[in-house]
């Protein structure tokens, strides 16, 4: 039985390769003019004679899928092949209506490429890719608990997938997770996929082997992982399990395994001996894909800013790596948020950028993720830039407390109030700190009269009590007093 923390782990080096299926966000399916998004639909409502594998039905390639795959190629640090072609992969299963899947075996649309992650040693590590190919997804079978039948839903049949195959260059569960997450960012930023993991838009198969020497050990493949965490946990589990197997004198069997999320363990599904012979051969119904220079140039021109570039720009502006990653990820919560665009505004000085980033990470992002604001309208970048700049300015000038800065920011971002003059609005709404000395003096005098004991303590040198008096004053001013000024006044009045 594998344990969570293998004692001999350090003797073995894990080697991990990942195959990732990315669902491309085309309007229609890969080979049929049928709506590709069936998330909220009843079973078998997004199908045609092609999806059903009716007699005489022929696949017709969706050009948009080719364009998205070509964009993905650039995100993966390479370019689409000018010539690629489809093959048929044969097996019988009710969710595969034609008895074969159309995929790219011999001539994939992407050859090579790479994904950079931060390796276990803290340095940038380039994970090279074997290939990435276009293929159609299968349908979905469900097996009701009661009854001697299964149900087939073909809504997903024919959905375009890009299968990205890494070389076995990952060395730990953490690296595997980071690689999977980076792929997610790349696909999202390139606009290739919705990459909605909950709906299975990205699915991972992890190949894991361990070895004490240069020669690779026997690998297992754990299929259909649908979260970064399960990628990490499955690798962790497999490494431990394989160590336990080898340490007990047994051999690791080459096999396909599944992931049981409830039990957090992998389970044997199919050994190599039971593996299919897929009888690949060139798909005669779909002519090869030929991409010319003008097409590729158009693809290049339409690549948006990618994570690597953004990281560099934000890093140049002095943001911490931690903040950058949070912001990169949060930007994707809603495509129109514009966190990054706000921060990259040239008019801002470095201190403002840091202050704004802090407010975003500490205030806006957590707030935006709260239940009641998930669908809140998002202001445009220009409006957001003004709000952030003004609030930062007020905070740095000391005319607003940090607590009130947060409150003001949330008010401006989420309440729908769109004041022309933010400072005036802050004043009017009572966010501005009271710094008028005569008014403050009156409050302080009242506090001293009302809290004779505490005042006496301060006079006799017990400075602890001053905090209590400041608190009272703040309360009396409804939070509007400048606490630093209050403290100063108290010290002056109680020093004699």
């Amino acid at each position: 039985m594998a344990t969570n923390k293998p004692q001999t782990a350090s003797d073995y080096t894990p080697t991990i390769g990942i195959e990732c299926h990315v669902q491309l966000k085309t309007k229609t399916k890969l080979f049929a003019a049928v709506d590709n998004d069936a998330r909220e639909s009843d079973p078998n409502t997004h199908i045609s004679h092609i999806c059903l594998g009716m007699p005489g039905a022929l696949p017709v390639l969706n050009k948009e899928a080719v364009r998205l795959a070509s964009k993905a190629a650039i995100a993966l640090n390479t370019e689409a092949q000018t010539l690629s072609a489809f093959d048929r992969k044969h097996y019988f299963y009710p969710d595969l209506p034609k008895g074969y899947q159309i995929t790219q075996q011999a001539h994939p649309i992407i050859v090579g490429g790479s994904v950079s992650i931060i390796g276990d040693d803290g340095n940038t590590k380039k994970i090279n890719l074997e290939r990435a190919h276009l293929e159609e997804d299968a349908g979905k079978n469900t097996h009701p608990e009661v009854g001697d039948y299964s149900l087939v839903d073909l809504n997903r049949a024919g959905t375009p997938l890009l299968e990205i195959v890494s070389k076995p260059e990952l060395k730990s569960a953490q690296e595997a997770r980071d690689y999977a997450h980076e792929l997610y960012l790349l696909m999202r930023y390139a606009g290739v996929s919705d990459a909605d993991l909950y709906h299975g838009n990205m699915r991972f198969d992890v190949n894991v082997s361990i070895s004490k020497s240069e020669a690779l050990g026997t690998r297992t493949e754990t299929k259909n992982l649908n979260s970064f965490r399960s990628v990490e946990k499955a690798v962790e589990y497999e490494v431990s399990r394989q160590i336990a197997v080898l340490e007990s004198g047994d051999k690791v069997i080459q096999e396909t395994r599944g992931w049981n999320d409830a039990k957090q363990k992998t389970i044997s599904q199919r050994s190599k001996e039971e593996a299919h012979d897929y009888r690949y051969f060139p798909e005669p119904d779909v002519p090869p894909i030929r991409l010319d220079e003008s097409f590729l140039e158009e693809v290049r021109q339409n690549i948006p800013q990618m994570p690597a570039e953004i990281r560099q720009a934000l890093s140049n502006r002095g943001l911490t790596e931690e903040h950058i990653e949070i912001l990169l990820e949060a930007e994707l919560d809603s495509v129109t948020v514009g966190y990054l665009e706000t921060l990259l505004d040239n008019a801002l000085d470095a201190d403002s950028v840091t202050a704004i980033a802090n407010m975003m990470v500490q205030t806006e992002i957590p707030k935006r993720r709260s239940e009641e604001l998930l669908n809140a309208p998002v202001l445009d970048t220009a409006q957001r830039t003004v709000i952030y700049t003004e609030v930062t300015k007020l905070a740095r000038a000391g005319s607003i407390s940090s607590t009130n800065a947060k409150a003001l920011l949330q008010d401006l971002l989420f309440s729908g109030a769109q004041p022309k003059n933010i400072e005036a609005y802050a004043q009017q709404q009572g966010y501005i700190q009271l710094s008028d000395t005569s008014e403050l003096e009156q409050i302080v005098d009242e506090i001293i009269t009302e809290n004779t004991q505490a005042a006496e303590d301060v006079r006799s040198g017990e400075m602890k009590a001053i905090g209590f008096l400041v608190g009272c004053a703040m309360k009396k001013s409804h939070g509007q007093a400048n606490p630093a000024l209050i403290k100063e006044l108290l010290q002056k009045k109680l020093s004699s």
């Binding site: 005489g56 017709v60 209506p97 005669p284």
Partner: protein, 478 residues
Amino acid sequence: MSQNKEWKPISEIARAVVAGDDSAVTLVKDSLARIEDQADYNIVIQSCDERALARAEQIDEAVKRGENPGRLAGVPFIAKDNFLTLGSETTAASNILRGFKAPYQATAIERLEAEGAICVAKANLDAFAHGSSTENSDFFTTKNPHDPTRVPGGSSGGSAAAVALSLVPFALGTDTGGSIRLPAAFCGVVGYKPTYGLVSRSGVIAMASSTDVIGPITQSVADAGLVLDCMAGVDSRDSTTLEPVEHDYAEVDAVDLTGKKIAIIKELMPSSLPDSIRDNINSVVEKLKKKGAIVEEVSVSSLSLALACYYIIVPAEISSNLSRYDGQRYGYSDSSATSLLDSYKMSRSKGLGKEAKRRIMIGTYVLTSGYYDAYYRQAQQVRTKLISEFADIFKKYDAILSPTAPSTAFKIGEHTQDPLEMYLTDVMTVAANLTGIPAISLPSGSDNGLPIGLQLMAKQHADIDLLRLANSVEELLS
């Protein structure tokens, strides 16, 4: 042979309908009556009376309103039963599709209907078009109109026999290795196999996707040209269809044969060829020469491998294309199965015939890893060689002339014991499919009352030239 009156040329029939001199309803009723009269020949799997008559009435009404229903107005036709059609079942003559009602129509059918043609019936074939005699039909064997003890050829045997018996002015066939030309030759009618991709395959039950073509079986070359013209052209439902060409395939006026260069391929005139066929071809050659054509013998070294190549590539594609008939969504499903695997096995075992199983076995074998390189890959190499050798010939010659078949129609049951002998029937025709070129079979006299077929082939996309040449040869033979 039938006592049916031959049909007028198709263009004349349509003109009469458009002019109001004849009616679509009369034509359809006439055709349906002929079909019923000749039921003994086992030509039709199912007729589409109701839909055909309804469409005929619509066409007649359109004419009355002063509209022109098209170049095939009111012309009845029969489609091989591997074309998906509304108004009848579509079975491919296989038990696994018995009772199958198509949810959409083949593009070819749609285009013919758009020109006013009316599908009156579905013709018998070797199940899934696997065969050369219709003896592989799961339902019945069609009889040759010239001798009912003989086969009509296949796999479009029902279609060719229907035209030979004048049940309809034209019929549709599919040709994967000779399935239009061979039955046309055996039945004494014209059979046209266009360039691969000229007519959409959408809605036609696939045999071998890389060699399947759709073509007409007719009484004359001119009719073949007209029907082809109505069907040809790019189709958004079939990405292997060719971009539209400017030619009008209906304009197939005969050409001057003077100076035309025609090749006879040595390998297609083997010593085993019956004298009657050899003499027939030689007499045609003499006539051509008299008209000023230059006829020369050439050799295509890879041709001896063509049949072997064909019987690897085609079964490979068949094994794949037949995978969808699994008893899960449509067609025959064995309800006594108790597990998924059983359901697959039992539905396919009972639903598919012997020849389909044989080809699935061969195709599966040649694609299995370990054998792929030895068979499938080699066959593809031969195919590439064949394409280039044929291309070389067409650099020098306008056309190739050969017999369509190595014999005249054989007896029912004569070749059923030995599949290899049956496969050899295709020896003259498969090369055109492997190379994608157009080819036509013309009736060229007879031997003891059995028609002899003459084949002409031209280079890819030269369909119009081939049809014009064929028209001249047709004149020469009449």
